[in-house]
């Protein structure tokens, strides 16, 4: 194996052990997060090797990976910026926040990755922080009541190599770091 060797393989075993014997396939979601934490996205190699670890085909792994939006099967920026534009956020100006993020990050129309490759921008569905609308997540850390001006500041911080402090909880260094937490490998 190329990806699942050494420490990464050890982490994979820890993940698989969470599930009952014979039910190893349940580990597929955290294993995809683990792969994503190493590579910053989920590669073909990762899909194949997770299949080998679990005794299922690459196609079966890909079927799962492609179903969920939080697994990135395409090139992804160091940071993932999600702007909620669902109803409650939309009513309070989320479309302008999204437009500000797109312009500030330099994401071409119809695209998702900024031209400098730093930021992947997503117009997101409800993020479950409706009382703090408009809601934004950077690497799944929440920023509350974001105005277009605040959005530009957040992007500027990312561009200068900083990670802005979230409204609650602690900051993730990157999308890859967040993926490691999502794999349950960091308390």
């Amino acid at each position: 194996m190329e990806l699942f060797t050494g420490d990464v393989l050890q982490d994979a075993r820890t993940i698989i052990d969470r599930y009952p014997p014979g039910r190893e396939r349940s580990a597929i979601m955290p294993l995809l997060y683990l792969a994503q934490s190493v590579e910053g996205q989920v590669s073909r190699t990762a899909l194949r090797e997770i299949g080998e670890l679990l005794g299922i085909t690459t196609a079966e792994v890909e079927a799962v990976a492609s179903f969920y939006t939080m697994y990135r099967l395409r090139p992804t920026g160091r940071h993932l910026v999600n702007v909620c534009t669902n109803l409650s956020c939309m009513l309070l100006g989320a479309k302008d926040v999204f437009a500000a993020a797109r312009d500030a990050a330099g994401v071409p129309p119809g695209g998702e990755l900024s031209e400098d490759g730093l930021v992947t921008l997503h117009e997101e569905e409800c993020l479950g922080v409706c009382e703090f609308a408009p809601a934004v997540q950077i690497d799944f850390c929440n920023h509350d009541k974001v105005t277009p001006e605040r959005m530009r500041e957040l992007i500027a911080a990312l561009s200068s190599g900083d990670v802005p402090e979230p409204s609650r909880g602690r900051a993730m260094e990157s999308f890859a770091h967040a993926s490691r937490v999502l794999a349950g490998l960091e308390r």
């Binding site: 009952p20 396939r25 179903f67 939080m70 109803l87 302008d96 479950g128 799944f140 937490v181």
Partner: protein
């Protein structure tokens, strides 16, 4: 409103996020009490309390537990649904941010009641921090001997993260996801109580539901019934968002009039404007209007008014908001989240999104309103699970109350509702300003 809060009574004490603080407030006494009696008695108390599932369907919790057969020779499982994703809903999130041990205790009681020794908590992927809080609380509970092999009742709880799929809040889709499959719903029967996780008897409960259980054990079924209505006992968390002065999560007794929630708790409509429409239980529950201000917020009263209690997610729109735009955005959500299994849902939601978009863009055609109406009729009750019905609810309820506004969009090629308002130019709120 005067009453003793239940789920939120410790919210002003930040120490209850930890085990020590939670125990100091009487935490884990419900579990201790449960373990002192036969499992059947625990189920009976929860039955007697009349507790109903808070995740949307409102099914009686004790009855759900009693459906689990004990003689199959297979293990039984408790699976906690913390995949909170219904647009407008975030009370589970705040409940966990404040007091994660209450969920662990409720889960342990449910596990004891059905003889389960391995439980799963399915956490919404985007709830990164909340999952960390919960994992820390689990670690504490293991260290303190409430969980694990050496505990008074042998129970392991595994936290499993979702990855951004609304459909996984549907219980059978959640089970598929947990088994490592695509999160698509299963045909029922067999129901999860008989064949759920790993084809074994399984109880799936919502976070808020289980967080009610510890107090029911310590204070009793009659105490639980002392708030709420006869058929909808207890309190419920409501999330109020959108155009209100004080958006937030509020606990109120079931049956409280919507007016009280809106005015006393949420401070009324933002800027003192007129209420135009609201969802009582999330975007998949039919919208209601200002004429429903005095409807009681309980399962029966909301059903009588033509909607559903859902997850208690109230999203408020005022008289400057465009209902075509709102409906288009909500339907687009369902198009994005449809798992693709059933044609009426998969194709219907995308098609309706396109038609509503062209109405919004001023390109609506004659007959479009009827077309959208037909879509609503042809989606409702014609798919495998309730996701499609959510799409239909948006379409049908917005047309029921605001058909004129849709017609006006087609006729005038623009929104007339938003432009009537002088507030738009001053606040620049939302996309109405761009129109």
């Amino acid at each position: 409103m005067e009453f003793e809060p239940r789920l939120t009574r410790n919210w002003d004490d930040p120490s209850v996020i930890g085990l020590e603080g939670y125990v100091a407030k009487g935490g884990y006494e419900g579990l201790t009490k449960a373990l002192e009696q036969p499992a059947g008695d625990v189920i009976q108390i929860v039955k007697d309390s009349g507790l109903r599932g808070r995740g949307g369907a409102g099914f009686p919790t004790g009855m759900k537990w009693s459906f689990v057969p004990q003689d199959t020779g297979k293990p039984t499982y408790v699976t906690v649904n913390f995949d909170e994703s219904e647009p407008g809903t975030c009370n589970n999130r705040q409940l966990i941010e404040a007091e994660p041990h209450r969920l662990i205790e409720g889960t342990a009681i449910a596990a004891y009641a059905i003889g389960c020794h391995l439980a799963f908590i399915y956490v919404r992927g985007e709830y990164l921090w909340q999952g960390m809080i919960l994992q820390r609380a689990l670690d504490e509970a293991y260290a303190a001997g409430y969980l694990g092999k050496g505990a008074k009742y042998d129970l392991d709880i595994v936290l499993h993260r979702g990855a951004g799929a609304y459909i996984c809040g549907e219980e059978t889709a959640l089970l598929n996801s947990l088994e490592g499959l695509r999160g698509q719903p299963r045909l029922r029967p067999p129901f999860p109580a008989v064949e759920g996780l790993y084809a074994s008897p399984t109880v799936i409960n919502n976070v808020e539901t289980l967080m009610n259980v510890p107090d029911i054990l310590t204070r009793g079924a009659d105490w639980f019934r002392s708030l709420g209505t006869e058929k909808s006992p207890g309190t419920k968390m409501f999330t109020v968002s959108g155009k209100v002065e004080r958006p937030g999560n509020y606990e109120i007794p079931l049956g409280t009039p919507f007016r009280v929630l809106l005015e006393e708790y949420a401070g009324g409509v933002l800027g003192g404007r007129e209420l135009k429409a609201f969802t009582p239980g999330g975007s998949s529950t039919p919208m209601l209007t200002a004429e429903h201000l005095d409807v009681g917020l309980d399962y029966e009263s909301i059903a009588a008014a033509g909607s559903l209690l859902g997850t208690g997610a109230v999203m408020v729109m005022d008289d400057t908001d465009c209902l075509v735009e709102a409906a288009a955005r909500m339907v687009r959500f369902y198009a994005h989240e449809s798992c693709g299994k059933c044609t009426p849902c998969r194709e219907g939601s995308w098609w309706t999104t396109r038609v509503l978009q062209r109405m919004q863009d001023g390109l609506g055609r004659e007959g479009d309103v009827q077309l959208v109406k037909d879509m609503g009729t042809n989606i409702l009750f014609r798919a495998f699970c309730a996701l499609a019905d959510g799409t239909a609810s948006v379409i049908n309820s917005s047309l029921k109350h605001f058909e004129d506004e849709f017609e006006a969009h087609v006729r005038e090629g623009r929104c007339t509702a938003g432009l009537k308002s002088e507030a738009l130019s001053s606040t620049g709120v939302g996309s109405d300003a761009e129109r």
